[in-house]
Symmetry: C2
Subunit: 70 residues, 2 copies
């Protein structure tokens, strides 16, 4: 599933995928693939992303009801 909430949080901070990737210590492609739902990041990476964006795990990675939309 695409991670729209992550993309929105990043755009709110006005930073590119590449810049977020640098801050978090991964590659631009890794951030891109998470946003487009191409895979399943590790917990530590999720936490690093949350901290870089001032959010929590629930804010960015928790779906209250598993809506299988999109």
């Amino acid at each position: 599933m695409k991670n729209i909430k992550l993309k929105v949080a990043r755009v709110e901070k006005d930073i590119s995928q590449a810049e977020l990737a640098t801050r978090v210590g991964v590659t631009r492609q890794t951030i891109g693939m998470i946003e487009t739902g191409k895979f399943n990041p590790s917990l530590q990476l999720c936490i690093a992303i949350c901290k870089a964006l001032g959010k929590t795990l629930n804010d960015l990675f928790w779906e209250e009801n598993d809506n299988e939309k999109n």
Copy 2:
């Protein structure tokens, strides 16, 4: 870091590592290693564990202040 909150949530439900592992679709060793902090699970696994235990990501995997206690 050891994940005490996970262990407590599991014991509250009165299930063994092996039983949680079965419900979540992984190996007993994987659950054990997460509880003892030996590694870095994937997001999907964290979510599956949360759902099996009736908790959220923040409940089990978010540390408000990175206390490096363990």
